[in-house]
């Protein structure tokens, strides 16, 4: 390092944060209008998304330029590592809320609704899982753990392996190996998402299993849905990494962006394993 030991990069003034705040204002206001049936809602949300994407593209372009320009020393790198770890921790806690809801429904609210206390209100209700609640009148089929979910588990586990393999390529300076590993990982991710999409459409069209199918449908779709959203975000980030690799970015000793995405991907992987056990299997 040519800079003094205590040097730390402080970015110059930037409009991106302001643009980001505007994006979220549009998104939030638009979403409120949308869910309340105002026709201006979808338009406002789209505008918010456009501004958000504009902001992310511009902001990340700046960061990448700074990084490739050699402005980030080891200490900045360490900051990024801390930040990404804490960010993933916050995501863990977000999922924890929904896992908690599933736990609560299965261990507390369903048994309570079938207890003697509730017999007057809901006679004949028995506490079995899966369950759509005493008020649910229709019938629905249960999502099996075998079939698509099992295949998806294998897909995600392999994608974790291919990503690690890509990382080895990066460490060895073998760019083809690296790019190939990334392409494989992205492909596995995309197949995962498509399979999940077909699983959803099957659930809606054949199984009468919907978001509105009581607490079972609620927890099933909310948990797998938020996970699917994270896979989509992960695939997007991996794609960005692929383009950066093709543009010649990253060195064996300087590639935290790649590692951050890998951490994220593994986190999404672990969430899936927990989902597979408690949502599909048990």
């Amino acid at each position: 390092m040519t800079q003094p030991a205590s040097y730390y990069y402080v970015p110059s003034p930037s409009y991106w944060p302001l643009v980001g705040a505007l994006a979220l204002l549009l998104l939030a206001a638009g979403a409120v209008l949308w869910v309340n049936g105002y026709s201006s809602g979808p338009l406002t949300v789209s505008a918010g998304f456009a501004v958000l994407i504009f902001m992310m593209a511009g902001w990340f372009r700046t960061v990448i330029r700074e990084s490739e320009g050699g402005l980030y020393n080891k200490r900045v790198d360490t900051s990024f590592r801390w930040a990404m770890s804490w960010f993933i921790f916050s995501e863990v806690m977000f999922f924890a809320a929904f896992f908690g809801a599933l736990f609560y429904a299965r261990v507390l609210s369903i048994p309570d609704l079938a207890s003697v206390d509730s017999q007057l209100l809901w006679p004949n209700f028995s506490a079995v899982w899966p369950n759509a609640g005493p008020g649910y009148k229709g019938t629905f089929s249960v999502m099996e753990a075998m079939g698509i979910p099992a295949i998806n588990t294998l897909l995600l586990l392999s994608s974790g392996a291919t990503l690690t393999w890509a990382h080895w390529g990066l460490m060895k300076g073998n760019r083809t190996h690296l790019a190939l590993g990334l392409v494989l990982t992205i492909a596995l991710g995309v197949i995962f998402i498509s399979l999940q999409a077909s699983e959803y459409s099957h659930a809606y069209s054949e199984m009468n299993l919907k978001l509105t199918t009581g607490i079972y449908g609620t927890t099933f779709f909310m948990l797998t849905g938020f996970h699917g959203l994270h896979v989509t975000i992960g695939v997007t980030m991996l794609t960005v990494m692929l383009f950066r690799v093709l543009a010649g970015h990253f060195k064996p000793d300087h590639h935290f962006a790649f590692e951050a995405v890998a951490w994220y991907w593994h986190f999404v992987d672990v969430v899936w394993l927990m989902l597979y056990v408690v949502v599909y299997w048990l």
């Binding site: 003034p13 806690m93 924890a96």
Partner: protein, 527 residues
């Protein structure tokens, strides 16, 4: 603390970077961002304060005066949300921005742009909240706790509150990631963890709490949103869910949240008491451990908000004892503050007065908390004015008093001027007197059975309510004096020395007053 590189050696204050409005819109400087946070906080304090005065005006006498019950509850809700998320939390983030880099010898926060984003996100969030008053159906009128089933039935004001909470969450999580990273990674050489000022320590732990629980709150309001509009059944018994589930998720966030709003205050008070006693903080290490234990315990006590929601006796006992356990580390802190003053050379400048007011009144709030922790008692007291009195002793006399102490303590560093000490003392005594006039009597109201969140009350409560309302207006008007003191201190006043308080310790006093735009660009060596 001895340093080899003096702060002013590397001052180059020749204002590079944009000026005027552009400076504030685009800044990545921790001091600029800190100032914006503090002014935002004060603005929200005024907005939330006006709402408080509307509430107190309505309660001035029995009967319905000028707010119908729906409006009244909307004002109560927004008052709570704005004070907690708009006034108190941003104030502490503002202090963190200004002081933590200076205290640990860092040139700035770890992520300057992200820092600015955390701030600017507060604007859309507060806009959503405040405009919700004017949409069809009005704002959310469910109390800041947003309990279903009522919150499922509200109009679009509720959706505005939900998205506002999402944005506030993003803001405070990003801000906390920034603060944690700064503290863990940017300390000057020799500034070991156990040499850090208490304010940095308490913020480190607070930031951890924020990152751990704000996402849970985001999850809770997301569930409300999907229950409201997408037919999910999280909180619907007919669908196999349970409204009480919301209370669990909310208070899993909510109890740590009350420590989020008080822990940085603990840090400030520790430093102020030590400075004006001219003694090092008594039991520094035990202060750190006590703060950490409070944070850990805060994850296991949420049930004390739900004693009347239906809970097995074992659960009630668990939450009762776990809650009482928190009194131990809190007691350690109060003991240490008093032991720091013991045989010190005390003087009573305004920051010290607010710190003493804090210790006295926060301890009372802690005691009423212990009273409420007893299940059998809480069943009587839940949702009465006793609870309102309790949390205002902790949030106003706790968090807000510590924020006042911090402002007076660090104003000379920020502005380069001394504030008007005489007026500062007047501000303290007015605040102290009117605070107690407003909230002390609410204990009696609660014990006598007056419920909270109700715009009307039975005749026997009239006298105490009148006292409380008069106190509230006095308290509100006294804060104009605070504004005057701060503004005139920014405009001028006696020049402040680099270290205006002779007992103060810490790296922030090694840089000149006012602190130059960039400090510690070459990190000091801490011995």
């Amino acid at each position: 603390m001895e340093t080899t590189a003096m702060g002013h050696a590397e001052v180059h204050d020749h204002g590079h970077g944009p000026t005027g409005l552009k400076r504030w819109l685009t800044t990545t400087n921790h001091k600029d961002i800190g100032s914006m946070y503090l002014w935002f906080s004060f603005a929200m304090f005024i907005v939330g304060g006006i709402m408080a005065l509307l509430i107190r005006a309505e309660l001035f006498e029995p009967g319905l005066q000028f707010l119908d019950p729906e409006r009244y509850n909307q004002i109560v809700t927004l008052h709570g949300l704005i004070m907690v998320f708009g006034a108190i939390m941003p104030a502490f983030v503002g202090f963190a921005n200004w002081m933590i880099p200076m205290q640990i010898g860092a040139s700035d926060m770890a992520f300057g742009r992200l820092n600015n984003w955390s701030f600017w996100l507060l604007i859309p969030a507060s806009l959503l909240l405040v405009t919700s008053l004017f949409v069809p159906g009005g704002a959310a009128g469910v109390g800041w706790t947003l309990y279903p089933p009522l919150s499922i039935q509200m109009g679009m004001g509720m959706d505005l509150a939900i998205f506002s909470v999402h944005i506030l969450g993003i803001s405070s999580i990003l801000g906390s990631i920034n603060i944690i990273t700064t503290i863990l990674n940017l300390r000057a050489p020799g500034m070991t963890m156990m040499k850090m000022p208490m304010f940095a320590w308490t913020w480190l732990i607070t930031a951890f709490l924020i990152i751990a629980v704000m996402p849970v709150f985001a999850g809770a309001v997301t569930m409300l949103l999907t229950d409201r509009h997408f037919g999910t059944s999280f909180f619907s018994a007919a669908g196999g869910g349970d409204p009480v589930l919301f209370q669990h998720v909310f208070w899993f966030f909510g109890h740590p949240e009350v420590y989020i709003v008080i822990l940085p205050g603990f840090g400030i008070i520790s430093q102020v008491i030590s400075a004006f006693s001219r003694k090092p903080l008594f039991g520094y290490a035990s202060m750190v451990y006590a703060t950490a234990s409070i944070a850990v315990l805060s994850f296991f006590v949420w049930g004390h908000h739900m004693f009347t929601s239906g809970m097995p006796v074992t659960g009630q006992l668990f939450y009762m004892y776990a809650t009482m356990l928190i009194a131990i580390p809190t007691g350690v802190k109060v003991f240490n503050w008093i032991a720091t003053m013991w045989r010190g050379t005390l003087t009573f400048e305004t920051p010290m007065l607010f710190a003493l007011g804090f210790i006295f009144l926060f301890t009372m709030g802690g005691f009423s908390g212990l009273v409420l922790a007893m299940t059998a008692v809480d069943v009587q007291m839940h949702n009465t004015y006793y609870v309102v009195a309790h949390f205002h002793y902790t949030m106003v006399a706790g968090a807000l008093f510590s924020a006042f102490a911090a402002v007076y303590y660090w104003l000379p560093k920020w502005t380069g001027h001394m504030y008007n000490e005489k007026l500062g003392k007047v501000h303290f005594w007015l605040t102290m007197a009117f605070f107690n006039m407003t909230f002390f009597v609410q204990h009696f109201l609660g014990l006598a059975g007056m419920p909270r969140r109700i715009p009307d009350y039975a005749l026997q409560f009239a006298d105490f309510n009148r006292i409380s309302s008069i106190g509230a207006f006095g308290l509100g008007i006294s804060q104009l004096l605070f504004l005057y003191i701060v503004v005139s201190c920014i405009k001028g006043g006696p020049k402040a020395a680099a270290k205006p308080w002779d007992g103060a310790e810490g790296l922030e006093w090694d840089v000149p007053s006012p602190a130059p735009y960039h400090t510690w660009e070459i990190q000091p060596q801490v011995k």
